[in-house]
């Protein structure tokens, strides 16, 4: 039995919607067919709130809040899109594209990339900010998979799926700011990792072509993510 206080009613984009006490704005929006762009969020993993694409405006709040981490409150009025939010999201995408060497045309994930799709969705025809062209390495040491840091957007999905679902915690992050980089074990070559179970979950959840299967050629790396909801269900919803 749910106490009446546990159901919240709120407005998203002018529509009246209802939510359970612990539901986030993103969950409720998606339930109601309202699209909010995300990149670091992936259903089945813990939320991180780092890509900032799901920022929404809440009436009465001066700050923009990430829809993925903000819980619904009674009487809340949420706006998921407006010209300002659109422009912010576009600029954020631009910052990602300029940050590392995202060259779609030769990328294994060309056509299957969440970043690329968002770029197209937001009409990002060019990047105005300066390309940084960092000298990023590529780790081919693993028998089956490759990590190409040039295409990594540091969403940490790989870190989360490895820690929370597979339980290996092979991936982590080192360095800070623009030098931040995902690492396997204690910054050893992936192929020498003792904790890696080669399950490949990290590869499948990666939104871009940063993690991919060896031997795949350009545009051939379509990611399979169906396993995540099943695993979550089988665990009784616990992460």
């Amino acid at each position: 039995m749910l106490a009446s206080g546990q159901i919240k009613t709120l407005k998203i984009d002018g529509r009246d919607v209802s939510a359970h006490e612990n539901q986030t704005i993103l969950e409720v929006a998606r339930e109601n067919g309202i699209k909010i762009p995300t990149l670091c969020f992936l259903e089945g993993l813990s939320v991180r709130g780092s890509c900032r694409l799901c920022l929404v405006a809440i009436k009465g709040s001066p700050r923009l809040e990430p829809a993925c981490t903000t819980r619904c409150r009674e009487g809340m009025e949420v706006e998921t899109d407006n010209p300002e939010l659109h422009q912010f999201r576009k600029r954020i995408l631009e910052l990602i594209f300029a940050e590392r060497n995202h060259v779609c045309s030769v990328c294994v994930s060309n056509g299957h990339c969440e970043l690329q799709a968002l770029g197209a969705e937001f009409g990002l025809t060019h990047v105005e900010v300066a390309y940084q062209f960092p000298n990023m390495p590529l780790d081919l040491s693993h028998d089956r998979f490759v990590v190409d840091h040039n295409r990594c957007i540091l969403c940490a999905r790989c870190i989360r799926v490895c820690d929370e679902i597979e339980g290996a915690h092979t991936w982590d992050m080192m360095g800070r700011g623009k030098d931040a980089r995902i690492i396997s074990d204690m910054n050893e070559p992936w192929g020498e990792s003792e904790s890696c179970t080669s399950c490949g979950k990290c590869v499948q959840v990666c939104p871009t072509g940063a993690l991919f299967e060896k031997g795949k050629s350009v545009a051939e790396m379509a990611k399979q993510r169906q396993f995540l909801p099943y695993l979550t269900i089988m665990r009784g919803g616990k992460r």
């Binding site: 045309s105 030769v106 081919l140 490759v146 060896k214 031997g215 350009v218």
Partner: protein, 473 residues
Amino acid sequence: MSKTITINNVTRIEGHAKITLHLDDQGMVQDAQFHVTQFRGFEKLCEGRPFYEMPSLMARICGICPVSHLLASAKACDDLMAVAIPKTAIKLRKILNMAQIMQSHALSFFHLSAPDLLLGMDGDPASRNIFGLMKDHAQLVQDGIQLRKIGQEIIALLGGKRIHPSWVVPGGVNKPLSEEHRDQILASLGECRPIIHRTLEIYKSIQANFKEEIQTFANFPSLFLGLVSPGGNLEFYDGNIRVADAARNTIADQIDTLDFNDYLEESVEKFSYLKSPYYKAFGYPDGIYRVGPLARLNIIDRCGTPQADEEWAEFQGLQRGAVLSSFYFHYARLIEVLFCAEMMERLLQSKDILDPHVRAYAKPNSFEGIGVCEAPRGTLMHHYRINKNGKIEWANLVIATGHNNLAMNRGVLQTARHFVKGEKIEEGMLNRVEAVIRAFDPCLSCSTHAVGQMPLNIELLSASGTLLDSVKR
């Protein structure tokens, strides 16, 4: 006092270049240099990338003949994996390559060279262009447009995209050919036969007008190099290297493409980013060789298709021994287009062409791989070294235009000596110097890639340097 004449921006060739002619005190041409002023550095930027990314990366070298780089690169990758790729994949790759050669040759002949050939070298520059051409030779121009379109359509039907197809992958191709597409291609190939025959007739009818050019357009003895099939037939994709001399004697045959480094060496000229390879055994400069349509037709025993062989017999009779004048590049191109049309049809009619098994999978099994194929402009070689994980550690590309570099320079000098008299620069002379270059149809943007080697000395040779009298247009 010596004088330098500079011809900038050679028009109607792909890419950008500059020619410098050095006159001596008597106003005679003392030296001629063909500069390539672009720089791309692809070999450096592919270091550190996984090898299976190479075909798509290398296809980006050039928007004009991406297919050639794609194939040479894919072959080098097959070599790194040390696999034998499915027979159907080989056939499909061959068709792709020939479609590319067809449309490239069409562009070279119909659009770039036809004004010179049909309107004359001394024609008024105002009308010596495609409009002038259209006035009197509308059919020819229409044919050119049509042929190019067919070539591009075949590429699009096979590879999915006209430019930079991602269909060719290490180990084969990533999608088999559908029956529908096969039939479409066969239909359009049917269209191009009459076009080619018409064009050959026109070409042969005007050839006699160019005796002087034939004499002087890089008409000198040299070696010729290219791929031939094991049986000595014309071959663009597979096969081994054959080198023939000016008398059409085969001096090296069936060189395994993997050993090509043992036969060739590269010199670097300080005036150009272009590499200049030569045949090692003969040394420099005696080892100068030519590649491309002319060379290919000089080294083979036969084309291997009936109609092309008929034309080839005629071609062979042009000069005793090898056909030496680079002017005949034009003729050779038309014969090759004919061969391509015939050969594509033959391959498409083979019964296993629709076989769904078109890709082999393997990890890297070899640390060094070489891929060689014939690009429209000549033999193209991709040579990679990888580490045990398949990461490219080193790459070297030997490009058709590079092979021809020394020969082109010699050709420019020869032509300039003949046509440049005194200090007066005449339009006709400039046209002929340019036309020599165009005969080779150099593709300059892809051949300029010598990272870390001698820089181009622009000051010494630029228009603002010493003793200069430059001509620009």
